[in-house]
Amino acid sequence: MRMPSVIVGQYIPGDSLLHRLDPRTKIMLSLAIVVALFSVHSQWSYMMIGVLVLVAVAASRVPFKMVVRGLRPIVFILLLTFMLHLFMDPGEELFVVWRLRATREGLALGLTTAARLILLIMATSLVTLTTSPIVFTDGLEKLLNPFRVIGLPAHELAMMMTIALRFIPTLLEETDKIMKAQMARGADFDSGGLITRAKAMIPILVPLFVSAFRRADELAVAMEARCYRGGAGRTRMRQLRLGALDAIAAVGVVAYLTAAVVLF
């Protein structure tokens, strides 16, 4: 078993229009697309939103392959929902397989549901593909800040995300090291049934957890020694700035989405 050396985010550095947008703009607009996807029913609306997403992919200069890769985890769900619609929805018969009756209405609904899921994943993964994790967390913190009045710990959430991102590679490296050490002592992680293999993981997880807690402890002391005392009174070196590009993108996309929703 091999561990990927770097898996933090799927960010692809670049200088495209999408890369230059403020993270807040990107997060909000991808949310707007999601909302639009759930408030339309006509296939013409889906078509319009699809065109928008494809234009965004082109503007991001991210290889199409990378965008599609985001769909891999949901392939099974996609197929399942499509099949369920196709064979379970009542309506005019298309064809029969064994005892299952496919309907024209089911086919239409199955296709739109699949399209909805595909566009949703593409629109949201476009955000993480064009935004570095740090900038993304900064944007998220800024967006969540207003909800502090109702008790949402915006700064703390962002800090947790940053620390998680920071320590994922470290912990992966450590897992790899522990596994190799256990294998050198004759441990076998690749054979046996599910339960045998799960049992083989215990000697890895225990030292990993122990070390993670020790790290957390030391990190907390180091942060306090550097005067960390929560978000209050803290400034940031990198300042997020909304510019003309953000205004144009926001107005353009929102107008287009509104049209897609109300026209059909």
């Binding site: 002391v221 550097r226 940031r236």
Partner: protein, 285 residues
């Protein structure tokens, strides 16, 4: 003049459950004056880290008081002043880097102090220059060597503009190359930047570079003086379970066999000079 750090009659006990109390410090008195490079040595568990953590209010004494530029570390209202005055670098470079890129991490301290953004940028650039890490601004911590990570940690403290920096065995987990990089940086802080340095180490060769060496033993200060003074009694050091620098040991063996050594040499260069002087003296006769 008020010293940077004044530790007065400090004792500290770790409370670990019912009976396991560990008396890690016993009636310790230390003054660290501004601009001095102090090394602290001592065997494992002698209380070095505990002492270090008292210097910027990470730990508060069980008895006695610690003052940083006259501010008592018990005074909560001075806490952030104290931590800005005395910065701290720890042993494990991995567990003190907070952010996902080098520049973000160096900016972390100044950000906590509420420094304006453009000023943070300036300080980050300066600090990275000082530790020879310019060009690595965007690198992730996992892409750096141990020595580089430790220098980033030092830059993170320097960016807070401390008067004093306490390093708790910063070289213990590094390979020889990383060790040299970090030592060069520490020496530069002391000699060029005028920062007071408290360098905790178990390498005798590192203690030799200091102006003053404090030797800890079971929570007490066993020896305190210039490196030549401290290393002139190898037997005392051995009793404290410490090694003697090799050159010093060699000179000591020579003098035990009747060679008149003019001083306690601390470096290979010093020993070579002394031996050279002795030999040329003999042949001149």
């Amino acid at each position: 003049m008020e010293p940077i750090i004044r530790i007065e009659n400090v004792s500290y006990t770790y409370e670990g459950g019912e009976q396991d109390q560990v008396e890690a410090l016993l009636d310790v008195n230390v003054r660290v004056d501004a601009g001095v490079f102090v090394a602290v040595i001592g065997h494992n568990g002698s209380g070095k880290s505990t002492l270090a953590k008292h210097m910027n209010a990470i730990l508060l004494p069980t008895r006695g008081d610690v003052y940083v530029l006259g501010m008592n570390t018990r005074d909560r209202s001075m806490l952030w002043n104290i931590r800005q005055t005395v910065g701290m670098v720890f042993q494990n470079p991995d567990n003190q880097i907070v952010a996902t890129t080098v520049e973000e991490d160096v900016a972390f301290g100044p950000e906590n102090l509420g420094v304006p953004p453009h000023e943070i940028r300036r300080r980050v650039d300066e600090a990275l220059t000082l530790v020879d890490m310019r060009g690595y601004e965007q690198a992730g911590p996992h892409q750096l060597s141990g020595g580089q990570k430790q220098r980033v940690a030092i830059a993170g403290v320097i960016a807070m503009r401390p008067k004093c920096i306490v390093l708790d065995e910063p070289t213990a987990m590094l390979d020889p190359v990383g060790r040299q990089e970090v030592l060069r940086t520490v020496r530069r802080l002391a000699s060029e930047e005028g920062i007071t340095v408290v360098h905790i180490t178990h390498f005798m060769s590192e203690a030799v570079m200091a102006d003053r060496v404090i030797v800890m033993d079971d929570g007490r200060i066993a020896l305190d003086g210039g490196p030549r003074e401290v290393f002139s009694s190898p037997d005392a050091l051995r009793r404290l379970q410490l090694d003697v620098p090799q050159v010093t040991e060699l000179a000591f063996e020579l003098s035990r066999r009747g060679v008149k050594m003019p001083r306690t040499p601390l470096t290979v260069k010093e020993l070579a000079e002394d031996v050279d002087a002795l030999l040329s003296g003999r042949y001149a006769r």
